[in-house]
Symmetry: C2
Subunit: 409 residues, 2 copies
Amino acid sequence: MEGDPTLRLRIFDLNCWAIRYLSKRRQERVQLIGDTLHREGFDLVLLQEVWSEQDYSDLKARLGSCYPFSHYFRSGVIGSGLCVFSRFPILDTLLYQYSLNGYPYMLQHGDWFCGKSVGLPLIGTGAGMGSQMLCPPCQLHAEYSREKDAYLPHRLVQAWELAQFIRHTSKAADVVLLGGDLNMHPEDVGIRLLRGWTGLRDAFAEATRFEGCEDGCTLIPNNCFTVKSELLPFPLGIRIDYILYKAVSRFTVKCEELKTTTGTAPGMDFPFSDHEAVMATLRIQRQDKAAGANLGTTEPALVDVVTEARAEVAVGLRAAQRQRYSSGRMAVLALLLLLLQAAAALGTLAGLAAGQPFPKLSFSLLAFLAIGVLLLATGLHLFHSIEVKMLQGTEEQLRMALRALQERP
Amino acid sequence: MEGDPTLRLRIFDLNCWAIRYLSKRRQERVQLIGDTLHREGFDLVLLQEVWSEQDYSDLKARLGSCYPFSHYFRSGVIGSGLCVFSRFPILDTLLYQYSLNGYPYMLQHGDWFCGKSVGLPLIGTGAGMGSQMLCPPCQLHAEYSREKDAYLPHRLVQAWELAQFIRHTSKAADVVLLGGDLNMHPEDVGIRLLRGWTGLRDAFAEATRFEGCEDGCTLIPNNCFTVKSELLPFPLGIRIDYILYKAVSRFTVKCEELKTTTGTAPGMDFPFSDHEAVMATLRIQRQDKAAGANLGTTEPALVDVVTEARAEVAVGLRAAQRQRYSSGRMAVLALLLLLLQAAAALGTLAGLAAGQPFPKLSFSLLAFLAIGVLLLATGLHLFHSIEVKMLQGTEEQLRMALRALQERP
């Protein structure tokens, strides 16, 4: 951006839903994504749920000529699923893993195994690399039930950590672009917290021109891969994939155009993914005087948002404390049973009891059961102890934020 | 610092070794630490290994009048052990947990349970909060054997993540102060990497005046709580606790004085901890022209350091891959055994085998054993898969850093 004061930046964001052996028509779709990206020549591509490194390598091989720079963020058992392709050099990267991410025993949801994170590529743009952009792709914990959302406190902790991470790292850049599947509706407390606390602006709300699904929805009943029953309460679909942005200093950012796909990939009869792709054209312009850092929401409104988030985290904290208590009690009971059995066995050995009081088989089965329960309950107790610690930590940080907001003149 | 261009800052750093039920004379020592801090009136106190929140609360109650601002960083099962007391307001905090931190099954070392992290308090100093300081207290994975240091790759990953974290967040501040037990000798590759990549300077090397243990050692045979046998190869002791600093912009920092305790607390016959306390007096001065960001080591030397670190991480990666493979093989074998037993049991039920081929007791014991091994080996396999992912990620980041260094004009 040195020299030329304006940069028009075209961004592509997609949750690719590329789970090996599980996602339908995965290979075909990944190839289609690669072809489209190659043809369209975006400046920056932020992808989520590319769970297999092989898919990333295939995309990289296909896109090497038009996106010379790329990065895959590794984390968790399976990976973070996040990757970025860029026409501009990636100067540096950093990965921040959220401290809470669901429960390891909820195998059917699987979020815990993914190591959900926010990746932080620092990208240099334009001649002489006059400006630097932070372009984190990110994904938050999925919402499996809107009515009884057991993961809301975890998602709020993630939204808060994401907001804090962006606040603390964004000074290293001139422009921050956040793209990803946030798994939150636009009016949810998590997204209001993230936007309010960081000052990030929503490309959909700010776009001069919009083309795509009604209300900007990115999970729609029209898409052949979505689960229709989950979308029953939302006949138009829901908007959970976002492109958010802000200028940090000396620059202004404006969203000229925002587009989404509408249930099929352009010119095809099937979609890229179960999510719609979001494509934005941003105009980044240098200005002479530095813009002051500001929050995204007026302060009284932000106080309300932080208070609401804190109340939700407190609800999660109480649930985690209950689970920690009951797993601890279970472990103690299993230990007592084991001790009792040991005492009975010793008694028999010492000849205190007449004859053989228990059949050997059920006696050992019971002992093994007790050991199993002890191990499992101890593991759960440790896990919920961590959960309690992290929820307490977040609650305290939110309290600090609230105090800082209220003390501001 | 608005108005007055110079700030003299007195910092106290200590690894408190305050483990409930395990550390000797803990309560007495915590009280002594509180009394000393109260009497001496430092500006900033960075403590590690305050494992019990009760100890933190006691310190907070004792120190509230002279250090009105404090924060305890929560993470892991037990906690991060990190806390900070400050005469200046703590404006914001962020916690970064290292992605690797030892092994959960190494119970005797226990690092895994601590959730080792770097805390990030942003502190505003002086009238009108003219400047902001990042003052992370931190602790890296312990070294249990210098000859056969199995944790070196983990500690290197942590040192790299710490360096990256500081690089990415330090632009939000004018001065960065890092205090803590880094568990590395001054010439170790991890500390050279951290200092080289961030530009942090070592208060011991830079101090105009020094007073304390020879060579600035902080783990010395003279201290009645240290394990003498571990220090046999180092008759003077070792230096593993540091205060590092740098000015980010518009400021200069100079270390006027550095002190360590020398085996006993001042005026007492026993020490604060098994580590010596490190106390620095820094002079922070505003200057008119902004200082450019620079690396701490000349670039050719830094290339060597990054190359060396990358080689060590690669060694760790191969070891982790071997462990992932052998735990996976063990899980498969246990599964095969279970399947075999199931087939045999079904065969017996179907009357294929004549009579009872196995005694019931040993048959079920074997089945339970196989289930136990299967669960354990699967858990290990998952754990080592994460380890492999994170080591690969760090290796790739180091490769990127190397390329960036080599491409620089």
